[in-house]
């Protein structure tokens, strides 16, 4: 019985032993990392095991990196499937307005209140953005003797950034169409949130009038429902 218990105890890993792999990968929290460091400093047996783990860590990365990457077939298959999505799925029994109504019905009163506040804030921000654009693009009706609107009142500290825009695509826009549009405008998606995409155009700064032209061209695209210049 004693011998069996001893064997079981010998097989049971200590907490520090179990944490060593995550220490090697650098994914422990600060507290555990410090505890492991202290244990390694005072326990040569643990330090020897840690050296073995470092080898395993390196070999696992080597092995995975040697697996290569998937062919373009996988991407083509995916985007073809995405394009086929509306056609493959039978029309939902609920209309868009029905879905929206269901979504709001499913929210608790508190969540609904927060959602409404967030919506109001988004509207305010959008109004501010559009207002700022209008002020920038319209000539001033009068000019004071002390202020020239032709000259910037501040000086940029660094190089000018390429133009960016917040864009919302039409609900029926296909992935292939969006990809073609990005290509034709030399644009890339910087980030996306709540159906709005932040696009960057090229890699050079543009004068204001060119940006305005770009926005108006973009707004004229069939698959674009909203396009406004953004920082």
């Amino acid at each position: 019985m004693m011998a069996m218990r001893k064997t079981m105890l010998e097989q049971e890993p200590s907490e520090m032993e179990t944490l060593l792999p995550w220490h090697a990968a650098g994914t422990l929290n600060a507290r555990d990392a410090r505890r492991v460091e202290e244990a390694l400093a005072r326990d040569p047996e643990l330090a020897r095991q840690y050296a073995v783990i470092r080898e395993e860590y390196a070999a696992t990365i080597d092995l995975n990196e040697s697996l290569g990457a998937p062919s373009s077939r996988a991407m083509q298959k995916l985007f073809a499937a995405i394009d086929a999505e509306p056609a493959r799925q039978p029309p939902s029994s609920l209309s868009l307005s029905g879905r929206i109504a269901n979504f709001f019905a499913g929210l608790s009163p508190r969540a609904l209140a927060w959602t409404a506040s967030a919506g109001a804030l988004a509207l305010l921000l959008q109004a501010g953005l559009i207002g700022a654009l209008l002020v920038k693009t319209q000539p001033a009706p009068f000019q004071t003797a002390s202020l020239s609107t032709d000259e910037p009142t501040t000086r940029a500290l660094g190089p000018q950034a390429p133009p960016r825009a917040l864009v919302r695509f039409a609900p029926d826009a296909r992935v292939a169409d969006i990809t073609a549009l990005l290509d034709s405008y030399q644009a890339s998606i910087v980030d996306t949130r709540g159906g709005l995409f932040r696009l960057q155009f090229g890699n050079k700064a543009m004068p204001k009038d060119e940006i305005a032209g770009l926005m108006s061209r973009l707004q004229g695209e069939k698959i674009v429902s909203l396009a406004v210049a953004a920082p």
Partner: protein, 166 residues
Amino acid sequence: MQVLYGRHHVRVFRFGLRLVRDEQIAEDLISEVFLDVWRQAGKFEGRSAVSTWLLAITRFKALSALRRRKDVELDDEAANAIEDASDDPEVAVQKKDTSQALRKCLTALSPDHREIVDLVYYHEKSVEEVAEIVGIPENTVKTRLFYARKKLAELLKAAGVERGWP
């Protein structure tokens, strides 16, 4: 979707490939995984990293694919038997290449052990994230990796490689 795909598809592919061991199936897997993401984007709660969510879906899809393949068994013995037939760690040792033997033995681990080693070392997932992906308690994650490492040491020992642990 293009940004998400561009950022994660290689790691998703490699994780899937290590589980299903078939490039064709692994490529099909990534299409299925990202299509699921496209369909279920609204369900992502943002409590975990996107990569953790992707790996959890990949794992689920890989296990389903394995179940569909009648010639592949999920139990450890069968997986090891397949490896025993094709792998030859002794050859690597004869070449005095310990790291090559280590890599061979890593592929000879059981599916459960392989996935946990990959998730921790290659995908750099924390204890909590591995628990979420694999669907097991955090303590089980720690002990499973410990026993995966012990199994690895046994395989290396059988191949004539002594590393001073255990």
